[in-house]
């Protein structure tokens, strides 16, 4: 059952990610990215990270991607023009990508042989209680610093996007 769920959502994530990179119109890329985030949320649930799965959907897929979609709609970003790429890029692009992937996968397999297996319910420490406890004790300083970071981001975004008072 676990393996079936993992395979289904992993394949959805990979297909949607390929779609993000391949589609010409930014809106199709954005909708595919929402699909990636949704399937990743399910994979987080399989890994026992229930709070992170909900946070992924609420924050990432439900707020950040809405920002992206707003900007794409407001700017009326059209289909990307096809520029001529140099022959080197066209020939070497995809093979180099597959080579990078192969390298990463090889290292992963070498360092993590089939020893540890993930089954649903194997890790129960991902509850909101555990995350909250760690967040407000061990990681209190990063928490306060990120709140300051968000404040800076809000002020920065407002300054950059306001109309100039002439």
């Amino acid at each position: 059952m676990d393996i079936f769920l993992f395979l289904v959502f992993a394949i959805i994530a990979v297909v949607a990610a390929i779609n993000v990179v391949v589609q010409t119109h930014p809106i199709s890329s954005a909708v595919s990215l929402i699909g990636v985030m949704g399937s990743l949320a399910v994979l987080y649930l399989l890994l026992g990270a229930e709070f992170l799965a909900a946070a992924q959907v609420i924050v990432y897929a439900g707020a950040i991607m809405v920002l992206f979609i707003f900007v794409i709609m407001l700017l009326n970003a059209g289909t990307e023009a096809k520029r001529g790429r140099s022959l080197t890029v066209q020939l070497l692009g995809v093979p180099l990508l597959v080579a990078l992937l192969g390298l990463l996968a090889y290292f992963v397999q070498r360092l993590f042989p089939q020893s540890v297996a993930v089954h649903f319910g194997g890790f129960t420490g991902g509850t909101a209680l555990a995350v909250g406890r760690a967040l407000f004790t061990t990681y209190l300083l990063p928490f306060e610093v990120t709140s300051l970071l968000i404040l800076i981001a809000i002020i920065g975004a407002m300054v950059l996007a306001r109309k100039e008072m002439d």
Binding site: F51, V57, G62, V66
Partner: protein, 391 residues
């Protein structure tokens, strides 16, 4: 394992059927309530008192021509109403309607899925519901639809913030994220409900106001009103896709009303303990309703009322007897209280629709960011201090 799957499928079928019928009849109730507020009869021709009007509407919507204009973005145009309805239905999957019951000797919960992050799941589903409207506005390739879609989604994400803060305050008091445990922490009497004993009256008001904005209802329905922006984001939609958006809107209304009931009004708990006779309240109410219907049937205002109102009166009296039977009381009474409280909030939705004018868009957004959000944060701060002080 098999019994679990079979029982879950049965629950799924029952909840889906009851929900979709309830959504259709919610529209009938809304039209009747608004009509009576405006001193007119409302639908009364199709069936007794217009009760078959939803059926007639469904037939009309299904048989309308399903146009696909040539200039729309086809994949997104088809995907948007589907997304809206899916996310609306998904949120109802985790709402508990009652305590644990026995179905043919197998104990089960009156809920489709008891998650221990139930509240976060509903927040997630309503965040994803924004996309149905935004993508519908974009896909229609129509400047009015795009403006309506953008305004509507901006309004929804702006009001998600005060709503989330208003949801967190009773969670601090009840100390759980699971919807079932929320209700169990409010057991006892009306003094234990989060709106009264838990001191969350401010959070309740903020939640209800934000709920009006989240579901695009009056007074926050500028983006989809018929006399503004043509018709907003669903201008280019017809037939079943249009019906999907309206079904999604009513389902969202049901979801936020259920959330308000679970978070603030004590879910399926009776206002006073069963020892003092709260089990008789449904029967008494139905007896009163039945006697009123029979009285008006005896002195009919219209010719057919002699038969229809008498029929309804008899049905109400039968229901009163059913609610008094001890066999079904264990699951029927909590269900009655849950539906009564949710129904009261839904009635408030319709009452306000018939009464208030709508906000202008900048007033709407200013209200969310400059008033509701600071008040919700202040409420959360005060609640946090009080909870930390007490414990």
């Amino acid at each position: 394992m098999d019994a679990f799957i079979v029982i879950t499928l049965i629950k799924l079928a029952v909840i889906a059927f009851v929900l979709l019928t309830a959504v259709a009849y919610l529209q009938w109730v809304e039209r009747k309530v608004i009509a009576h507020i405006q001193v007119r009869p409302g639908p009364y021709r199709v069936g007794p008192h217009g009760l078959l009007q939803p059926l007639a509407d469904v037939i009309k919507l299904i048989t309308k021509e399903d146009m696909m204009p040539s200039y729309v973005n086809k994949p997104l145009y088809l995907f948007a109403p589907f997304l809206a309805v899916t996310m609306a239905l998904l949120a109802i999957a985790v709402i508990p309607f009652g305590p644990q019951i026995q179905v043919a000797g197998y104990p089960t919960l009156m809920q489709l899925a008891d998650l221990n992050i139930g509240v976060l799941f509903i927040l997630a589903a309503s965040s994803m519901g924004v996309y149905g409207i935004a993508l519908a506005g974009w896909a229609s390739n129509n400047k009015y639809a795009l403006l309506g879609g953008l305004r509507s989604s901006a309004q929804m994400i702006s009001y998600e913030l005060p709503m989330a803060l208003a949801i967190v305050s009773p969670l601090l008091v009840s100390n759980t994220l699971s919807l079932r445990q929320l209700v169990e922490s409010q057991a006892g009497s009306i003094l234990h409900w989060n709106v009264a004993g838990g001191g969350q009256i401010v959070a309740f008001i903020i939640f209800v106001i934000a709920a009006f904005a989240e579901t695009n209802r009056v007074p926050f329905d500028l983006p989809e009103a018929e006399n503004e922006l043509v018709a907003g984001f669903h201008t280019e939609y017809s037939s079943m896709k249009f019906a999907s958006f309206f079904m999604a809107e009513y389902l969202n209304m049901v979801t936020v009303s259920s959330m308000a009931t679970l978070l603030f009004l004590g879910g399926w708990e009776a206002p006073w303990p069963a020892a003092f006779g709260s089990g008789l309240v449904p029967s008494v109410l139905f007896v009163i309703a039945g006697l009123t219907a029979l009285y008006h049937g005896a002195h009919p205002a219209r010719k057919l009322d002699r038969y229809t109102l008498t029929g309804f009166g008899l049905i109400f009296l039968v229901l009163a007897v059913v609610f008094a039977l001890p066999i079904v009381q264990s699951w029927l009474l909590p269900l009655f209280w849950f539906c009564a409280k949710t129904g009261a909030i839904l009635f408030a939705f319709m009452w306000i629709r018939g009464t208030l004018p709508r906000f202008r868009y900048d007033q709407l957004m200013g209200f969310a960011w400059k008033f509701l959000f600071p008040v919700a944060m202040l409420n959360l701060l005060v609640t946090g201090f009080v909870v930390a002080w007490i414990s």
